[in-house]
Amino acid sequence: MEHPLQSQGRAARRKRDQELWQNYLERGEAAFSELYDSFFDRLFVYGCNIVYDETFVKDAIQEIFLKLLQRDRSTLEIKNISSYLFVALRNYLRKELYARANKRRHQDRYLETKDLVEEPDMDIRTGASIDCSEALKREIERLPKRQREILFLRFFEGLDYKEISEIMTVNHQVVRNYAYRGMKKLRSNMEGAYPLFRSWIAVLFLLFINVG
């Protein structure tokens, strides 16, 4: 299977981010769409791991890119463009959430509070036909907000804990603990769900390691 985002390792991706940014600084608008292309998906998935409203996330991305585009390039001092964009998106979403919490409190509570709302507790043990990734999705969505956010930055973006701590302004030891705790929760919840599946895969995999 091809993973357009993951096929390059993180070192390669970092280098590419840097090149795209340099390119934009030199050529301006002409190089903007390339920069946008490389970041849109990543920012979108990041946003969706902070709030559950795709339209809201798309609007936010629109705003931060527009703002970037309208700033005078000669005065931009952005060392790390990916951190800059992640932080910008994060701040924008948080600020808007605050404002929205007021206006919409009575209509939709899905924003921000998803991890506080108890979902109907379906017994995943009996639902043998439920797709594994559906179960994982549900578990990830049950994680506390920050753990979810950290898992994305660590797992999908492959950032190191120091970088994550700078983006989220949280101590890096805390980031490390949260990542671990989040993963542990996912693992233990998934484990209960598919004992059979798990042992079957394990046998297969051990075989393949030994043969190889």
Binding site: D37, F44, Q70, S133, V174, N177, Y180, R187, I209
Partner: protein, 335 residues
Amino acid sequence: MNLDKYKHFTAEEFSLDPNFKENILRSSGEHSSFLRALAQRFPEKREAITEARRLVLQMDRYYQEQKPSAEEKAAVLEEIMRRHRTKNVRKRRRVVRYWPAIAASVLALVVTVWLFRSQMSVGEDTYSTSFAEMAEYPLPDGSLVSLNANSRIRLSETWEEGAQREVWLEGEAYFKVAKKASGEAKFIVHTNGPDIEVLGTQFNVNTRQDRTLVFLEEGRIQLKNDRGDLMKVMEPGDLADYSGGTADFFANVDSGKYLLWLKGYFTTEDLTYEEVIARIEEIYGVEMQIERPELREKGFPSQLPTSNLEELLTIFENLYHVTATIEGDEKLRIR
């Protein structure tokens, strides 16, 4: 490749390791020399590796499924360019017009930083929480500190074995102090009120308002006034209520009340109406504007949330049948 760092890895740590993840995703079911090398080097870790691999594949799938479609991506870009073109015309003039405002905000920033720094020097050795945020930090000696919202703790520079361990606290914190063998290794919490000297223990310190409340859950601590004179050796269950250089002591108090914030709530039981309001303002960084005088008579519920502003607003609305809103980020208005 050097595999040493994986020696003590658990399944969770494997799946969080970018290198491990990249190898799993790149090999996608085929032979991976990295995985084989890993399994050969640490045979006892095979099960953890298998499980981590499964987690990685599933998590990757979860994120891949969240990706937007190409149409969505193109539509947002189009909108950005359209708005950019229409705004571009006015841009230059606007920057000039706002120069005084920009200058003013730069000045404001400098002043704020200066005020903040003068209170407590902020460096690598300072942990802090913002409004409506709680966090737990490990200290260099293995002790743990939980910081309540809007609190700061600064660490002394030396934390070597046997050295005196010192922290300066503003706000509220709960300490689990790691016990050291040598009697030398004191742990001291300085506040703007009393100093607390510790030898391996769990306790809570609250320096908000003009009082400092110290609650001891486990172990023993010494309370010293700001001149350094010993006031009392506290026993578990003791509460010290310190203000203006003197302290009242209470024995066998209810720990639930003083440690409630660790669960995300605070108690209003011992607080006056004004103190509750001050507390909310402090925790959430808002200014309360109450336009319904009857609130004072009705009183507050005994517990209020410390890290969930929305829940707080909902409590007000349901309890008093009022409208509670946040205005301009900083004003909590009840009408």
